[in-house]
Symmetry: C2
Subunit: 284 residues, 2 copies
């Protein structure tokens, strides 16, 4: 239970931060925000997404937070905590939405004042658009939410973080170590973004859209990609991502060799495996 | 204009054949069908999708068709025409829904009696499910339809084939030579299916569905794949498909090398290209 009297600070009002703010405010929490642009604060206030907000570092506001959610680029999150982590009050629980964990969890935990706890989380929701104008709490419905505790975390903080996921409306809340999270995400999210990008860069025919079917559209929806955010996420998980690209490339090679050698049976076997494994994603 | 008095034969009442039948019957055409299983005919009759149908080769029925649409596996289509093409009447126009063209167009045209014309078409619509029970004319809305004439085709047949696409409700009707069609489809459809299969076969973690976001779901929707149909389509277009796999693999390698060498600028440039090209698919 996160009581309605708890005060929640969101740092970074983008697509995800904005959606968190919208959902939590609607459900009766006092939500305040720190973000870069005044126009974002104005938008959030006009749309009733936050109670108050600032573009400055407001030590008092930070000190009021019972729970803080960081929705920033990884390096910005770390810099922010280096400068301002000291303002959090004892008992505050800090969480995030960052897409990589090993590269930030230990670092962030090393920057905390006594009695403040950081517990990582990764909401598996997003869109190929950005900014508070596109935020929408609906995107959490049916989605997965992964909490990534390490040995420094208390059961209380882990439970609070999971409860936050439930309050936001995520369908499945699960727990993974930062290491397992990064491996999973290297495959499920980062590799798929690499594939979408490579699909777009390998063909410069401007007429493709006149001939395409849904499958190409689906595979490349995420090819509209924020290059600053994703290149940072890729680099912070590069050892895992490189190995995932190699594993995937190996399977694609296997399929290609089967074609080259007229080995239809290998091709069909791969398709049968593919069909069987994909069916698991429909059950949920 | 295809007058409402025209009689239309559908050969093969699967997902696509069934959807064609449904749409054309609803719009007042007399549609009859030849298909393998009696249960399929029964289903189509019960659901008012056809006026009559048979599992036998009915020379009289074939001879009545003004327009015939073949929705069969490529090798079945060719075998069917070898045996029964002779029953078509002079003036009949034959078209199809086959996913490859070079491998069938010349062959089919060589099997036609005098005065009968074959003009290829590829409706870029489908689903990851099969069979008449899943057929639904709604799937044509907003979709692309490609007519693939060669030098043997008359303007009348080309226009009739395009008109059929319009009647069925396709949003964009375009024309490509069989060669250009096969190259386009090797990239847009076959490569994407190879990618989806390779994504499923390269990771056997049964817990993936608990952690996934939408991007992985989108990329693998088509990983539920009919291995008989797709392996046949792949093999019939294998030279092109192999070269597309190589081109795509090369771009993925480029992305991987950029990570290995910390070349963030190359990575960002690829993402910028990707974003710009993908935007063309949103305009329509």
């Amino acid at each position: 239970m996160i009581e309605k009297t708890k005060k929640i600070l969101i740092v970074g009002l983008g697509l995800l931060g904005g959606s968190y703010a919208q959902s939590l405010t609607r459900q009766g929490y006092e939500v305040f925000a720190i973000t870069r642009k005044q126009s974002t604060i104005d938008y959030a206030l006009e749309h009733g997404m936050i109670a108050r907000g600032t573009t400055e570092i407001d030590a008092r506001m930070i000190g009021q937070a019972d729970i803080a959610v960081f929705a920033l680029y990884p390096h910005v999150f770390i810099e922010w905590m280096e400068k301002n982590g000291k303002y959090f009050k004892k008992g505050a629980i800090i969480t995030d939405v960052t897409g990589v964990k090993c590269a930030i969890v230990d670092k962030i935990q090393s920057l905390l004042p006594e009695g403040v706890e950081f517990i990582g989380a990764h909401p598996m929701a997003g869109k190929e658009v950005y900014g508070i104008e596109n935020s929408n709490e609906e995107m959490f419905k049916g989605a997965n939410y992964i909490v990534t505790p390490n040995e420094k975390n208390t059961p209380h903080a882990i439970e609070t973080c999971k409860e936050l996921g439930r309050i936001l409306g995520f369908a499945n809340i699960s727990e993974l170590s930062p290491q397992k999270h990064d491996r999973m995400i290297g495959f499920l999210s980062q590799l798929t973004h690499c594939i979408a990008v490579a699909l777009m860069t390998c063909n410069d025919d401007v007429n493709l859209c006149k001939y395409t079917g849904d499958s190409f559209r689906d595979l490349t929806r995420i090819a509209r990609i924020n290059e600053d955010m994703w290149s940072e996420l890729f680099m912070l998980n590069k050892d895992i991502l490189i190995s995932e690209i190699k594993a995937f490339g190996g399977e694609l090679e296997k399929l290609r060799r089967a074609m080259e050698t007229d080995d239809v049976e290998t091709m069909k076997n791969m398709m049968r495996t593919s069909t069987a494994r994909r069916a698991m994603f429909d059950k949920k």
